[in-house]
């Protein structure tokens, strides 16, 4: 493993380390923030810069014409709703100075690098009096005020519940000669920022719950100031964002627990990871982690499920990719009416999805809390530590994590570690969902440049996960798993790109895989195999003459001279590549005596013909019998059978028949 890691010929990770010291007060009556920040920024690029670019993402919720709101097509992110119900949010920088007192605010101007939308105020630029050379640092002091919106896209308030994300002026990423990479806030993507340290002091009323990125380091009650009765300080290292939540204790409860590797790693998982990755148990050792779950008082019964899911996620991702390095993970389940806050990843701080309904049958048999918790935790890896540019290559976050989450959930449910109403495997569900889409599309596009949000989700989540599942099938589970681990270990705490990912995989797997990535990720090529024709001809059906080496003889006679008494068959099997995705595929030939033969085809040509002579007939031909090509959703013509088998069909029809009979049950008595 280490040798493989050393052999990866990719650029070493480059990331800047910033430091944000912040003080913020929440006005719970008006849902307003008043903040100050002291930032130390270092130019990690290779050229000087005279500008600083800032994310002011709360302004995405300032009017209905921002780039973000246009991207939502008038709706809210998760629930049905419309902008008419919005309570707008915004942020305003009230002062910005350098350490020597130089005012930068006067030079501030809004910029729209992605779409030129004049109604968008999510990116601002200030001009520095002097260029900052590579390696040099700046200290900036900023004051700002912000109005939280009514909860939308994981930010804002619902009643007394506050989820405060994308709330402070945050620097973009300076990429040297490529300039500043600071995208506007789009509906489909959230993150691209440098790593840094955060030390944030939060003032809220007394008797309030606060949870945030990082760990709580001090807590102080201020008895004489009811509106700022509690001051909590959080600290986090090597993270690229900071989010927090605040709500009255009467609404939200805090449950503290932990992840103990000796107790919480299933032995079967450890053995499998060790065997597949070629690492010893000692090399797979994981550190303990503190768990903090913040749930509505009414959902306290769900807290053990969130804790269990978090433990499983820490164990699974830790074993397969590398340890979760932070001392704490915080999981928040938003209360009712704050559903928009659910299902979100911030560094060391995730929001899941719960409801009191999930405490009673049949809803309690659903694995939604586990799926969402595990998915959002997975973003600690694919976004939190592997901080790719989500705006430009969202699939590196959502797609890789969807693959990992699905694999994790398969393991969790297979071992009975979470409730689940089994209606097909998680991979099957992903294939089916993807199969509903009829229009080909490319994965590797900017997040805001898809035809629709639906297509963005399909490409960035499902199609990428299925592409990786396909790759896993093609290169083998072991090589795939090792490549994923090397990718994580090589690029954690940096900003890997798609090219980095491709390079690691080609290197670790030991073959050029660009043929696959170019088609699966960078094109809309579709996978479709088909059995075109299977034909049997009895050898003794031969007519005319045949050359036996000495003379022309009757073809029939030449057969009769053979060792078989006319029971031999010339079988022609024609396979086709109906899709435009080129790659190798297996086919399984089933013979009438029950035996099987596996053959491979490189899939380069549009079709291939195999002619074989056998003393037995073929009964069935199946292309891609193992389902390696998870990306293929048109599977009907992958199967050919001499005689129709009714088992699968009967099974399927049975479900329909029973459903109709249940309909009859409801109607028969109704006069």
């Amino acid at each position: 493993m280490l040798a493989a890691l050393a052999a990866v010929a990719v650029a070493p990770p480059v990331t800047a380390e910033e430091f944000y010291e912040m003080l913020v007060t929440l006005d719970v009556e008006n849902h307003r923030l008043e903040g100050k920040q002291w930032i130390r920024w270092t130019n990690s690029g290779d050229v000087p810069t005279t500008e600083l670019w800032w994310h002011l993402y709360l302004n995405a919720f300032s009017n209905s014409s921002t780039t973000f709101m246009r991207g939502l097509d008038g709706g809210t992110l998760r629930s049905f709703g419309s902008v008419e119900r919005m309570a707008w949010g915004w942020t305003r920088v009230t002062s910005m100075t350098l350490e020597d007192g130089t005012d930068l605010l006067a030079t501030m101007a809004f910029v729209r690098p992605d779409d030129g939308n004049p109604d968008d105020f999510t990116v601002a630029r200030v001009t520095l009096p002097d260029a900052v050379p590579p390696g040099a640092s700046l200290k900036i002091e900023t004051s700002f005020e912000a109005q939280l919106p009514k909860i939308i896209a994981r930010t804002g308030y619902a009643g007394d519940f506050h989820l405060v994300g994308q709330w402070f002026p945050k620097l973009g990423v300076f990429e040297g000669s490529d300039g500043w990479n600071c995208h506007q806030f789009h509906a489909n993507s959230e993150f691209y920022a440098d790593f840094g340290g955060y030390r944030v002091t939060i003032n809220v009323p007394a008797q309030w719950v606060v949870a945030a990125t990082g760990m709580e380091i001090t807590r102080m009650e201020v008895p004489n100031d009811p509106s700022r009765g509690l001051q909590v300080v959080y600290s986090a290292e090597r993270v690229h964002d900071f989010a927090w939540t605040a709500a009255p204790e009467s609404l939200m409860a805090v449950v503290d627990d932990d992840f103990q590797p000796g107790r919480d790693i299933p032995l079967s998982w450890l053995e499998k990871a060790s065997q597949t990755l070629g690492l010893s148990a000692a090399e797979l050792e994981l550190p303990p982690t503190r768990l903090r779950v913040v749930v509505p008082q009414s959902q306290l019964e769900l807290a053990p499920r969130f804790i269990n899911a978090a433990r499983l996620a820490i164990a699974w991702y830790g074993l397969w990719y590398g340890p979760y390095p932070y001392p704490q993970l915080t999981v928040v389940s938003p209360p009712p009416t704050a559903g928009e806050a659910g299902g979100m990843e911030y560094p060391t701080f995730i929001t899941s999805s719960g409801s009191r309904l999930l405490t009673v049958p049949p809803f309690q048999w659903m694995s939604r809390p586990e799926v969402v918790t595990i998915h959002e935790f997975g973003h600690q890896y694919f976004q939190g530590m592997l901080a790719s540019n989500e705006f430009e290559q969202a699939w590196l976050d959502e797609g890789l994590n969807s693959y990992a989450e699905t694999a994790c959930m398969e393991a969790v449910v297979a071992d009975g570690l979470a409730p689940d109403v089994r209606a097909g495997t998680f991979w099957a569900k992903k294939r089916i969902w993807f199969g509903m889409l009829r229009f080909p599309f490319t994965i590797d596009r900017p997040a805001w440049d898809f035809r629709s949000r639906y297509q963005y989700f399909a490409a960035s989540y499902s199609k990428t996960a299925l592409a990786l599942k396909t790759l896993e099938g093609l290169v083998g589970e072991q090589r795939f798993a090792r490549a994923m681990r090397v990718y994580f270990e090589t690029f954690r705490f940096s900003h890997p790109t798609g090219d980095d990912f491709f390079a690691v995989f080609s290197e670790v797997v030991g073959e050029d895989l660009y043929w696959f990535f170019d088609q699966a990720i960078r094109s809309d090529a579709s996978v479709d195999w088909s059995v075109l024709r299977v034909k049997h001809r009895r050898v003794d059906d031969a007519e005319g003459v045949s050359w036996d080496g000495d003379a022309w003889v009757s073809a029939e006679a030449s057969v009769e001279d053979g060792e078989n008494d006319g029971q031999r068959w010339v079988i022609t099997v024609e396979l086709g590549r109906t899709g435009n995705f080129i790659g190798p595929v297996d086919a399984e030939l089933y013979f009438e005596d029950g035996s099987r033969e596996r053959r491979s085809w490189d899939g380069v040509d549009r079709w291939v013909r195999w002619t074989i002579e056998e003393d037995r007939r073929l009964t069935r031909v199946v292309m891609d019998p193992d389902g390696v090509w998870a990306l293929e959703t048109r599977r009907q013509d992958n199967y050919w059978a001499a005689e129709g088998s009714s088992e699968a069909a009967c099974g399927a029809l049975w479900w329909v028949s029973e459903a109709l009979q249940l309909a009859a049950l409801g109607l028969m008595p109704w006069s």
Binding site: G159, L667, S671
Partner: protein, 323 residues
């Protein structure tokens, strides 16, 4: 010859009438399967063919393949399939109304003498439109009651959610679902009472009959509910048992054994529906044994010859009902 009870539902009476109406039971059984035959035929000609080459052994096809093939083959046939299903549901509804009307007429006009299925259905045809109106009345009542229950409940649930009070929301949901269920049962029972009243000459209005039926249901809550439950439980079990077997045992799906079980379950359901409906008949039928029955048959024949309805001496049917 015919006496009228106080209108108390009786499962025993339902059993007796169900035995007499075995042909109707068989017809209900056949219809419940036949109405969906076009839909299954559409599926069979497409899905069955599409899946024919897929190995049937569990795990032989990669996960998701069968569902993907169903989607692939089923997508183009959704319109005809939808039409087949909807038409099946409509036919089933019309059939149910028809045999309900027929059974009422058969019971009230002939005193329940043994007749051919065609006669029962023929009698039903005469009153069919009135029973359609009764069915629609019940549907409207159900919708109105549903709206009446859920409008304030939805508002209260919304208020609870705004206050982030999930306990109250859950309580309201449970109460709402409970009341809705109870309401559906009451409407169902009221409709069965009303169906029998609608057969009486003094009840021409479907709405009035249904309202009176509701009154009957309220007057006899325990016997009505008990009777309904006695028939519902086996009918429900008959629907669930084959399904449970199929879910539990993959290999049984589509097998002859499960098909036979489903057919048997369908028969049980038909018996239950016919028995349940007859249990709500407000008459006890012919009094006496075989002699009485023979006498009744002879009387019916004489009455028919004389151009008046059978049992015209009954105090239930003083005059010939107007179709």
């Amino acid at each position: 010859m015919v006496e009228r009870r106080r209108g108390t539902p009786s499962p025993v009476w339902g059993v007796r009438r169900a035995v007499d109406l075995w042909r109707l039971i068989a017809a209900c059984w056949a219809v419940s399967f036949l109405v969906f035959a076009p839909a299954l035929l559409v599926l069979r000609t497409t899905i069955f063919r599409a899946l024919a080459a897929v190995p049937g052994e569990a795990g032989a096809a990669p996960p998701g393949d069968i569902a993907l093939i169903i989607i692939e083959a089923g997508w183009p046939i959704l319109p005809p399939l939808g039409l087949a299903v909807v038409s099946g549901i409509v036919v089933l509804w019309l059939w149910t109304v028809l045999w309900h009307a027929g059974v009422v007429a058969w019971q009230l006009w002939t005193g329940g003498r043994r007749v051919r299925l065609g006669e029962v259905l023929g009698l039903g045809m005469v009153a069919w439109w009135r029973y359609i109106r009764l069915s629609l009345t019940a549907l409207v009542a159900l919708v109105l009651l549903g709206i009446g229950i859920w409008l304030p409940l939805a508002s209260a649930i919304r208020t609870s959610l705004d206050a982030m009070n999930e306990q109250r929301m859950m309580l309201l949901l449970v109460v709402g679902l409970g009341i809705t269920k109870l309401m559906a049962i009451v409407v169902w029972i009221a409709t069965m009472h009303g169906a029998w009243l609608l057969g009486l000459p003094e009840y021409r209005s479907a709405v009035l009959s249904w309202v009176r039926g509701l009154g009957s249901a309220i007057r006899t809550p325990f016997s009505s509910f008990f009777t309904w439950l006695v028939w519902l439980v086996p009918a429900w079990l008959a629907a669930v048992v084959p399904l449970a077997f199929g879910i539990r045992f993959d290999g049984l799906r589509g097998s002859v054994a499960l098909i036979v079980l489903s057919l048997a379950a369908g028969l049980v359901r038909s018996i239950c529906w016919v028995g349940m409906f007859n249990s709500f008949a407000p008459v006890t039928g012919l009094v006496g044994g075989a002699e009485d029955e023979e006498a009744q048959t002879a009387e019916s024949a004489r009455a028919t010859d004389a151009g008046r309805p059978a049992n015209s001496d009954s105090h239930i049917l003083p005059t010939q009902p107007t179709p």
